[in-house]
Every structure is written in structure tokens, then in C-alpha cells.
């Protein structure tokens, strides 16, 4: 009986089946106010971190989210999880609208949605042992009480490739790769369906990076997880994702199946981004043509009118400076926001 409990206890039954839409995001906006004034704080502007996104995530798949720093990919992940309450838009998770949930109702949903963070050093409490870190979500959600909890923790440690004998140790006793495994274990403990992985391998050395990527893949298969995988490394995202979305300055530029996006990019920003990443093959790499974008990303405080990419776009025309391009499905399952496609 003990082994039964440590595996799956069916705390709830998800109505969403493999291959059906688990997450449906429509018109998501996340603005952060900028205030000024010494005594009376007045709102003077908005940072438009995420501006009008729409996408769906299917149960069991990995949706990759790429873009440069400040493009709003992490904010998107947090707004989906309701860690930030969105300014506008809808986030539908398995048939329930999350943006209007509050208090206990929201907390119940939080168990089904978890997050893995980038920095394995600052995202773990140094005063808590591994056992306490992994046990905390179980305590919060009142799962696996008494001796079952210790068993569950041992089971999780094994699942993420850590020696269960390390349960009493503290984060500082582990290497970066091992700490990331603890963070993954914490996210897995309460049996979530959906995990936002925010740059989970960026802080790790390449050989350790490969271990964690493989682990995430194995866990997805084992527990039927759905991932929103946020990263700036395009090769890693291609490797792990079924579909990939490209963001720039708070907007989604393009979304397609991985191979389609990497082999047949349509948006000029996606093309430039892909050409800027060198391939690990000296002969091929030196023959590749690259599109070097000039200038920097504009401030999200004052995004340019029209298409936000127009200031750096090599093929921009007048229309791009005047009208915001709409999000269209140009080929089946291939979405793009560009007037010139």
C-alpha cells in the first residue's frame, strides 16, 4: 500500500485529456505602472511588458517561448500562473477562468501549476533542508500527511535523480546542477499538470545542462506534464519544444511547430534571431549568411507606433510604422504578426 501512495493518489481528476487544450490565453496584457511624485504618487506611464498575447497550450506538449531579455517572456509565464494579476485578458486553465479567481479557490489551482526558476542559487531557501523544501508544497496543500510525506519526498528525490539519503542536507551542500534538480523536485512534489520552466538551464554548464534537459524530458513522459519552456537559447528551445513562440517587446511575433519555425521562419525578427545564433559546426557556420540587426530594443515605456519591430526591421515600409499588424494564421498552425509576410 505504501508504494501505491507514493506514486499517484489522484488528488483530483483532471478533465483535460492528452492532446486537448489545457491552457487558453486570450488578449493577455500585463502593464506595470510607472509613478512619480514625492508625496503623492501619480501614475505617469505604463511599462507594457506583455501586450495583447494569445496562445493555447495542449495537454502533454511543450510550448517554447523565446526572445531577448526584456521581451516579456518571463512576465508572460508569471501572468499565466497569476503570480502577477494581468491588466487585461483571459487565462483559461482546463475550463476555469483564472483571472477572476481569488483566495482559496486560486490556491487550489496553484497546486496544478508550478514553476521552475532560473537561478538554482537564489531560488532555494538556504535555511531549509531538501526535505523541507520539497515538503513545503505538500504541507501548504495538505497532501501526503504523516509518514506518507517522508515517503513522497524520497520518491521525488529518486525521480529527479538525487540520492534519497541527501534529504537532510541543505542547498549549499549541492552543486548547481543538483540544486536545479531540487528546484524541479519542489515543483513536482504536489503533482502538477502544468509547469512554467523559466530559463531552467541557463545558469548551468553545458554538460550539466544536458543532464537537466534530459531529466525534464523524462519527467514529462513519466508524469504526463505540460511545459511552458521559457529560454533565450534557441538551440535548447528547439530541442525540447513541440511548438515555439517568438516574442519581441511584449508582443508575439511568430508561433509554429518547432521544425517549421526553425526551417521556415516567416517573420523578419525570427529570421534575424536564428541567423545570429552560431551553429556548432565550423565549416557550415562560416558559410552561413547572417542578418545583423542594427540598434537596440526600444524601451517598453514608449514602444514605437505600428509594428514594435519596425525600428530595427530590414524590410519595414510605411504601413509598419502606422498600423499594428494583426496576428494571423498564414499556414495551418503557423501564426505570424507582420504586414510583409
Amino acid at each position: 500500500m505504501a508504494t501505491m501512495q507514493t506514486q499517484s493518489k489522484n488528488i483530483y481528476t483532471s478533465t483535460v485529456k492528452h492532446g486537448e487544450t489545457l491552457l487558453d490565453v486570450q488578449g493577455l496584457k500585463m502593464y506595470f505602472p510607472v509613478t512619480a511624485g514625492t508625496f503623492i504618487q501619480k501614475k505617469v506611464a505604463d511599462v507594457r511588458a506583455v501586450d495583447d498575447l494569445q496562445f493555447k497550450v495542449t495537454k502533454g506538449e511543450t510550448l517554447g517561448l523565446v526572445g531577448e531579455s526584456g521581451c516579456g517572456k518571463s512576465t508572460t509565464g508569471r501572468a499565466v500562473l497569476q503570480l502577477y494579476r494581468p491588466t487585461a485578458g483571459s487565462v483559461n486553465f482546463g475550463g476555469t477562468e483564472l483571472t477572476t479567481l481569488k483566495g482559496d479557490e486560486l490556491r487550489r489551482f496553484r497546486r496544478r501549476m508550478q514553476m521552475i526558476f532560473q537561478d538554482p542559487f537564489s531560488s532555494l531557501n538556504p535555511r531549509m533542508s531538501v526535505e523541507q523544501i520539497i515538503g513545503e508544497p505538500l504541507a501548504i496543500h495538505g497532501l501526503y500527511k504523516g509518514p506518507e510525506r517522508a515517503e513522497r519526498i524520497q520518491y521525488i528525490l529518486q525521480a529527479v535523480g538525487l540520492n534519497p539519503a541527501f534529504a537532510r542536507r541543505f542547498p549549499h551542500e549541492f552543486s548547481g546542477g543538483q540544486r536545479q534538480r531540487i528546484g524541479i523536485g519542489r515543483a513536482l512534489a504536489a503533482e502538477p499538470e502544468f509547469i512554467v520552466c523559466d530559463e531552467p538551464v541557463s545558469a548551468l554548464d553545458v554538460s550539466i545542462q544536458a543532464q537537466v534537459i534530459n531529466l525534464l524530458g523524462d519527467l514529462q513522459e513519466q508524469f504526463g506534464l505540460t511545459y511552458l519552456f521559457i529560454a533565450h537559447d534557441l538551440a535548447v528551445v528547439r530541442h525540447i519544444s513541440d511548438r515555439v513562440a517568438v516574442m519581441y517587446l511584449g508582443k508575439m511575433m511568430e508561433l509554429a511547430e518547432s521544425n517549421e519555425l526553425y526551417q521556415n521562419p516567416l517573420h523578419p525578427y525570427t529570421k534575424a534571431l536564428l541567423s545570429a545564433v552560431p551553429i556548432t559546426d565550423p565549416e557550415l557556420e562560416r558559410q552561413r549568411e547572417r542578418i545583423i540587426l542594427t540598434g537596440d530594443v526600444p524601451s517598453p515605456l514608449r514602444p514605437p507606433p505600428g509594428c514594435v519591430f519596425n525600428t530595427r526591421c530590414p524590410i519595414a515600409v510605411d504601413e509598419c510604422r502606422e498600423r499594428i499588424p494583426e496576428w494571423r494564421e498564414v499556414e495551418p498552425n503557423h501564426f505570424v504578426a507582420c504586414h510583409r509576410v
Binding site: E68, V206, S207, N214, A276, P278
Partner: protein, 338 residues
């Protein structure tokens, strides 16, 4: 090509309370004029300590260069006095650091910081040095340079700051440019801008570049030759094509297979190198890669392998001599040394 820099049996140790850390443990390599050499390896393998040793910037205590020679234009940098070293640093040898946010002084203007080395090493002053600063900023692609020399670092973006660092490094036409993870903190499109500028200037001025990076894509694109470091030693060295197409050390083979490729259409499971790099505090009698190596035999426990020439100009430090089949990617050990 003439040898610009020769590093012979360099050993840099750190004397800590826990014991002696052999951060760089007997590395030998050279760099010719106009050549780009990459130092690759995981964190803690001794890449940055090697670079800091060349500039004699190792903090002492706890660090000390205990043995070796660093011949720059025929002169041993470990023997010259501090004044002469200062005249070389920033002048004949320049360095670009990883963090563009922290390596510029926030209370001095960009112009003041670029002029510092121009005035110190080239003896220019006043308008001449300002003119040179503007010229350098234009060279690295900063628009409206004449106006921007009076700006402070916080008014520049990360990519622009890194370009300012390159402008400073190039201000005295150095013979050798050391770039320690120059683009790690930057986004890919900005990384491409910065690296293209560095490569173009290196070609134009015939500057030799030592680039330290863990990004294998950057190495594939820019490096002529590659030194792979592991646990304070060079485990493999050769041309970029040698290293990427015909790696001969199990660590290099593992490293290549553990990086997902941007142009891979099929999802194959990544090969991992299990375990961790060794602590450099213990003396390792045999091969330092032994605990993580799939090919190890008894000899690897006891005998330290030397750098052996596998093909002209391509050296690896391994008893087993593995070979990767170019088509099937299957690895076989050529010699069952035991």
C-alpha cells in the same frame, strides 16, 4: 606566422585554508600574430585564471604563479618589473571583461575612461585624445559618437557598453586582445553585433585574439584554433575543424554531444557527461577525467597521460585514443592501452 605569445608550463595555484588549488596546472600553448585562439571548458577549469595570469592580475594572496614562462614578443612577462608590466597592460595587451555593467566606472564619462589609456600610453592630450576617443566609438558603431563621449555608462545599453569596452581595449592598437566571455551577458542579436565588430577589427589591425568562452557556436564561427581545458590542463588542442569534426578526447567528444544543435531536425536524446569536474585541491595521480570517462582502463587510474599528437597539429591527452566515426557518430577506442 611569427609567434606572438608563448605560454610554457604555466602553473597558477591558489593557497587557501583548505589546501592548494591547482587552478592552472602546467599549460603550454602559443598564439601567432593575427590568429584567434579559443579557450573552452566548463566553469572552474582554469580558463579565466590563464588569462589573468598573462596580464599578471592574479590576486596575491591567495593566488600565485608558481612556475612557467609567458613569452610575449620574446620577453618573459613573469620576469618584467611592475612598471614595465603596467606599460604593457592596456597598451600592447588589452582585455575585454565579461560584465559590461560592472567593468566601467559609473562616475566617469565614457570619454574620460577611453582617454585614460590613450593619454597614459600614447601621450596624447586635450583635443587630440578626445578626437581619438570619438574615432574609436565610431569604429565600434556608436552613432553620434561626438555627442556621446560626454555620456555616463548608465546612459548606454549593455551591448553599447560592451562595444565601449572594445573601443577602450583597441585604443592603443594592441598586439593581443584577451576577451573573457565577451558576449555571455548579451542577447543573441547584440552578441552577433559585438562579435562581428571584434572579428573585423582583429582582421583590419592584425590583432591576435584570445577568446575565452563556453559557447561552442561562437568558437565554431570565430576561432582558428581551440584549446579545450579540463581541471586546469589542456586536454585537447587543434584547429576548430579538428576539434569539432574529429574530437579525440572523451571530454571533448562528450562536450560536443551534450549541446543541442540549432539545425537538428530530429530530437535525439542528448549525451551527458555524468558526474562533476574534480576538486582541484587533491592531487590527481592518473587522468583527471577518469571518474567521468566511459573509456577508462586501469592505466588511467595511475598514469597521467601526456598531450600526444594524433594528427599534424592536433593533440589530445588520452591513453585510449577514441575516434568518432564521421557518418555514424559512433565512438571507438583505437588503442586498448593497458
Amino acid at each position: 606566422m611569427a609567434k606572438l605569445l608563448e605560454v610554457n608550463n604555466l602553473k597558477t595555484y591558489f593557497f587557501t585554508e583548505e589546501g592548494v588549488v591547482r587552478a592552472v596546472n602546467g599549460v603550454t600553448w602559443d598564439l601567432s600574430e593575427g590568429e584567434t585562439l579559443a579557450l573552452v571548458g566548463e566553469s572552474g577549469c582554469g580558463k579565466s585564471v590563464t588569462a589573468m595570469s598573462i596580464l599578471r592580475l592574479i590576486p596575491n594572496p591567495p593566488g600565485r604563479i608558481v612556475d612557467g614562462q609567458i613569452l610575449f614578443e620574446g620577453k618573459d612577462l613573469l620576469k618584467v618589473d611592475d612598471a614595465e608590466m603596467r606599460s604593457i597592460r592596456g597598451n600592447r595587451i588589452a582585455m575585454v571583461f565579461q560584465e559590461p555593467m560592472t567593468s566601467l566606472n559609473p562616475v566617469l564619462t565614457i570619454g574620460q575612461q577611453i582617454r585614460e589609456s590613450i593619454e597614459l600610453h600614447l601621450g596624447l592630450d586635450g583635443e587630440a585624445s578626445t578626437a581619438r576617443a570619438v574615432e574609436l566609438l565610431e569604429l565600434v558603431g556608436i552613432s553620434e559618437a561626438a555627442g556621446r563621449v560626454n555620456d555616463y555608462p548608465h546612459q548606454f545599453s549593455g551591448g553599447m557598453r560592451q562595444r565601449v569596452m572594445i573601443a577602450m581595449a583597441l585604443s592603443c592598437n594592441p598586439k593581443l586582445l584577451i576577451a573573457d566571455e565577451p558576449t555571455t551577458a548579451l542577447d543573441v542579436t547584440i552578441q552577433a553585433q559585438v562579435l562581428e565588430i571584434m572579428a573585423r577589427l582583429a582582421t583590419e589591425f592584425g590583432t591576435a585574439v584570445l577568446i575565452i568562452t563556453h559557447n561552442l557556436g561562437v568558437v565554431a564561427r570565430y576561432a582558428d584554433r581551440v584549446n579545450v581545458m579540463y581541471a586546469g590542463e589542456i586536454v585537447e588542442t587543434g584547429t576548430a575543424t579538428d576539434i569539432f569534426k574529429r574530437p579525440r578526447h572523451p571530454y571533448t567528444i562528450g562536450l560536443m554531444a551534450s549541446v543541442p544543435r540549432l539545425d537538428a531536425t530530429e530530437r535525439i536524446r542528448l549525451t551527458t557527461i555524468e558526474g562533476q569536474p574534480p576538486l582541484l585541491i587533491q592531487e590527481i595521480p592518473g587522468c583527471s577525467f577518469r571518474p567521468r570517462c566511459d573509456w577508462a582502463v586501469d592505466k588511467c587510474d595511475t598514469d597521467h597521460p601526456g598531450l600526444e599528437e594524433k594528427e599534424p597539429g592536433h593533440f589530445a591527452r588520452c591513453w585510449r585514443n577514441p575516434l568518432v566515426d564521421a557518418k555514424t557518430q559512433v565512438v571507438t577506442a583505437a588503442s586498448a592501452a593497458n
